[in-house]
């Protein structure tokens, strides 16, 4: 075993430029896979962190009738805020379906009421704590851009109260916030909770309650149902998984390029080095041991590639993790939490997994052509007579 590695090392070093080119291609694949996976992990972490900061905190208590994907569920999804909410510092939000009338057109929105004094979420709700003859409101940049509104602009909003009666009033945009979380931006208008409760004639009621780090006695939160952070971010996980699967195509293409080079080298080696193979057998190797030697020789490309990748990959990947990767297009239309600049995150597990993946693939590609050696007649090999 040790001898095979030593001989493989000597043979590879002796092969010079050919080895270097194969190793270079493989190291490029190695670095690219790490970088792309790092971007995915970074995106995942960044999205979840942004979701935590802007929208879901450490988890939420939902009214049992509330369905985040069904706006019609909002009609019945509200209940009196439990007393436990105040003690635990939960942030209640009341939500209802509404219509906005910017520039004379109608646009369905979700009107959310949130306490202006809250500090759990990054929403700049303090701006809502003002008095004027319109309802102070907040919007994200994406939403504001869509309805062509700027800070200080007024627009008519229409809603139905608890009895189903339509009512309408002007809101004034007191602030426009920049966020990467579409859940609080796209189609969302934020006003003060007490104002919305009054408009809806639902005093002291909420649709969901967002929790911080404090512990809450869930039994005292009835009828609200606990939704843990992991459940609320399940969509992100699914999305990242889908994206990762899509990226696997790139990995396969990259690896194929590298593997093709190694496969070719192996096939050529076995044909060109027949006499050498015969010599190994004559000197006391079994054919199986020669197969192993050639497999190790091919696999060693992966080890050398990892070393070469470390030389230029570590500074490159580190630099990327600091400056980030700016997506060369507008990310607002993506419909998911994605920052314009993604910061790749690399873990030891990721590096080890990638290395093992590359090593196994290289090993298989090296073994495949080397199997022919087991069928070689050593006396023919010694004379270089095998076609």
């Amino acid at each position: 075993m040790k001898l095979a590695w030593l001989l493989a090392w000597r043979n590879l070093m002796g092969a010079g430029l050919r080895t270097f080119l194969n190793v270079l291609v493989l190291s490029f694949a190695f670095v690219m896979i790490l970088w792309m996976e790092g971007v995915m992990v970074g995106w995942d972490q960044q999205s979840k962190e942004d979701m935590r900061a802007w929208s879901i905190g450490a988890g939420q208590y939902w009214h049992p009738a509330y369905d985040a994907y069904d706006v019609l569920s909002l009609t019945d999804a509200h209940a009196v805020i439990p007393k436990e909410t105040v003690r635990s510092g939960l942030v209640p939000v009341l939500a209802t379906q509404a219509s906005l009338f910017p520039q004379g057109r109608m646009m369905p929105v979700r009107l959310n009421g949130i306490p202006s004094q809250q500090s759990l979420l990054k929403l700049p709700t303090a701006a809502l704590d003002t008095t004027m003859d319109a309802i102070p409101a907040l919007m994200g940049t994406s939403m504001a851009s869509k309805v062509h509104l700027n800070r200080g602009d007024r627009v008519l909003v229409q809603w139905r109260d608890r009895n189903g009666t339509f009512d309408a009033m002007e809101i004034e945009l007191v602030d426009v916030f920049q966020t990467t979380v579409p859940a609080v931006d796209a189609g969302q208008v934020w006003i003060d909770l007490s104002v919305l409760q009054e408009l809806m004639m639902l005093p002291n009621e909420a649709t969901w309650l967002t929790m911080g780090e404090a512990t809450v006695d869930s039994e005292r939160m009835a009828p609200f149902v606990w939704k843990p952070f992991s459940e609320l971010t399940r969509d992100i996980d699914a999305m990242i998984e889908t994206k990762s699967s899509g990226q696997a195509v790139f990995y396969v293409v990259l690896l194929l390029l590298a593997m093709l080079a190694i496969f070719d080298t192996q096939v050529l080696s076995i044909f060109r080095r027949q006499k050498e193979i015969g010599t190994y057998v004559a000197l006391g190797y079994t054919r199986r041991e020669v197969v192993w030697l050639f497999t190790v020789e091919g696999s060693m490309h992966a080890v050398l590639a990892a070393l070469l990748a470390a030389v230029y990959g570590i500074p490159l990947l580190w630099w990327q993790s600091v400056v980030g990767f700016t997506i060369p297009m507008d990310t607002e239309g993506f419909g998911m939490a994605i920052a314009p600049t993604l910061y790749p995150v690399y873990s030891l597990g990721l590096v080890v997994t990638t290395f093992v993946l590359v090593l196994i693939t290289t090993g298989l590609v090296s073994y495949w052509p080397s199997r022919r050696i087991a069928k070689m007649n050593p006396t023919d090999a010694l004379r270089g007579k095998i076609q």
Binding site: R10, G14, E276, V281, L283, G284, Y285, T286, E289, L382
Partner: protein, 230 residues
Amino acid sequence: MEQSYLIDLKQVVKRFPMGKGSFTALKGLDLQFEAGEFAGLIGPSGSGKTTLLNIIGTLDLPSEGGGTVLGHPIEHLKASEAALLRKERIGFIFQSYNLLQVHTVFENVEFPLLLLGMPSEERRKKVMEALDWVGLADRHRSRPSQLSGGECQRVAIARAMVKQPSLVLADEPTANLDAANSHHVLKTMQQLNEAFQTTFLFATHDEKVISYLKRKIYLMDGQLVKDERV
């Protein structure tokens, strides 16, 4: 009491498939060799000398017949047993040297000792000793491509002799050498044969080699024609 031979071949037949039939390269050979012999299988191309050398070197199996090589019955030898026998007790010298091109002279000679799992210090000592025997100790860092044909063959001799095997098989060892180098190489082998009592068995039709042999075995069409001791 039956004498024990280093090599004892009985009725060895070797056939090679050829088209729908077969070609018989060896036709029932009986041959015995004792330890320390400096012998040669002599004959024209196709006489069966290389085939016989391969069978003695356990690189090939006889189609019929058998015997023993270094005490091992060749007809029943498994691939792993044959490899072990070659590794420990048989050295090979080839017509085209068969040196590992990417390795240095030192590494080429070291190779059989690596296979034996010898410790590094002992390996180094033996390699330098073997290179001394063939007069190439000062070239141990060179690569085969930097050596002349004669020097390459001397490296091959050092590689065959470094583990001090019981038997060295040399297939046309001077075929690629000029007269001066041939004599140099043959004298080296002769000296090693005398110094270590290693049995040398050649396959050749080179008159220069034949002139050094102490036993000349003439083959023709796979049959023994003459067995002559000098």
